[in-house]
Symmetry: C2
Subunit: 203 residues, 2 copies
DNA sequence: AGAGTAAACTTAACACCGTTAAGTTAGTGA
DNA sequence: TCACTAACTTAACGGTGTTAAGTTTACTCT
């Protein structure tokens, strides 16, 4: 009676194939420049087949982003495990966040730079177990470590974490959207942002 | 021979009428939810007429944003004229920037949160006389005032200005896109971001 | 005044888009 | 073998930005 399972595996396979095709196209051309018909062409199925596996185009994007941000969580997790000065570790985490965003600009844009439909964000995006939220949790944890080690003054950790997020998101998104801006230097601005934010919290 | 001038005035009038209609719709529904046909309906002309006055939809948006950011520049200009502690003045300017972005989320999104086509940004967006750049110039000026008054240590002003921009842009854009996120408090996070950034530069 | 012309505007169409209803095919279970 | 179901496709709907061609309008010049 392994038939059903084989079927289920096959079904999952095509699902993944769609996801991979969509991911590649989204990354290369950006969400709104990729049509369902193009994705379908790539996997050599009819466009409507995609709708048997995904509710609509935005769910496709949502799944692609989930995968990508799973990788970010893994990366941050590795950094946070390392021993040493918690402030330095926090900084490394912030830098890794920016770097990840710049490596995956289309995914980053889709996840953090699009206006979420009312109610959509609250229920799906901001659940504690979503990759985005897991990534954010590393911030509060990193800050908590700094406090425990006496490296930072007493503060509202949640507020400080949101402040840090705003800062690193700012430089990440600006570098993505305004690549032609006369930056003093991409690396310089990234480091300056991280250093300024952390110094501001230490003060 | 005032005929030609009257004609020119009439032509300008319709141009402005298109701009106003587009602006209202963009602000209410967002750029990508407004079609050329809807704009045309509003002014009771055929859709193609718009193309006699604007190259395409994106130029329409560009002009609308230019108008809006002219208002931001005016507001910042007023703040920078005021006497008093330059650091406080700088903070007030940063807060005004964020507030302006939140008051005009669709315009803000269009100007600072969309990926600029290669070469487009460099030539149009980042010219010294563009409203966006004028707004940015207030940052460097505000920082310069702080330095002159001895309120801040020696630093690369351009780098510091870009850092500040990244920070305030970060909180502005996140509040626009992730309005459902469990923020500690919108006002709190805004002030925390501004205070942290400035404190970080002072250190 | 009437012919010619240029500007202003519209109609119709093209090539796309996301999505759905209806239809076809293939393979399972009785 | 026959009914049923799951997988997939065809055809279509109502929309998009944009353009080529055609029409109306109004003014200039003889």
């Amino acid at each position: 009676m392994g038939v059903k399972e084989r079927k289920a595996r096959q079904k999952k396979f095509l699902r993944q194939e769609i996801l991979d095709a969509a991911s590649e196209l989204f990354v290369r051309d950006g969400y709104e420049n990729v049509s369902m018909r193009r994705i379908a062409d790539k996997i050599e199925y009819s466009p409507t087949t995609i709708y048997l596996y995904f509710k609509d185009k935005s769910e496709l994007l949502e799944q692609v982003c989930k995968e990508t941000f799973g990788r970010l969580v893994q990366r941050l997790s590795k950094i946070m495990e390392q021993p040493g000065d918690p402030v330095e570790r926090l900084k490394r985490g912030l830098l890794a966040y920016v770097q990840f965003g710049l490596e995956n600009p289309h995914h980053y844009r889709a996840t953090f730079m699009m206006v979420l439909p009312e109610g959509f964000g609250g229920k799906k995006m901001h659940q504690d177990d979503s990759p985005g939220m897991q990534a954010f949790a590393f911030l509060t944890r990193g800050l908590g470590d700094c406090l425990k080690a006496g490296k930072m003054p007493a503060m509202n950790v949640e507020l400080a974490a949101q402040t840090l997020w705003a800062g690193v998101h700012g430089i990440t998104s600006l570098l993505i959207t305004h690549h032609d801006f006369p930056w003093v230097g991409r690396e310089k601005v990234i480091h300056s942002t991280v250093d300024t934010l952390v110094a501001g919290l230490e003060a």
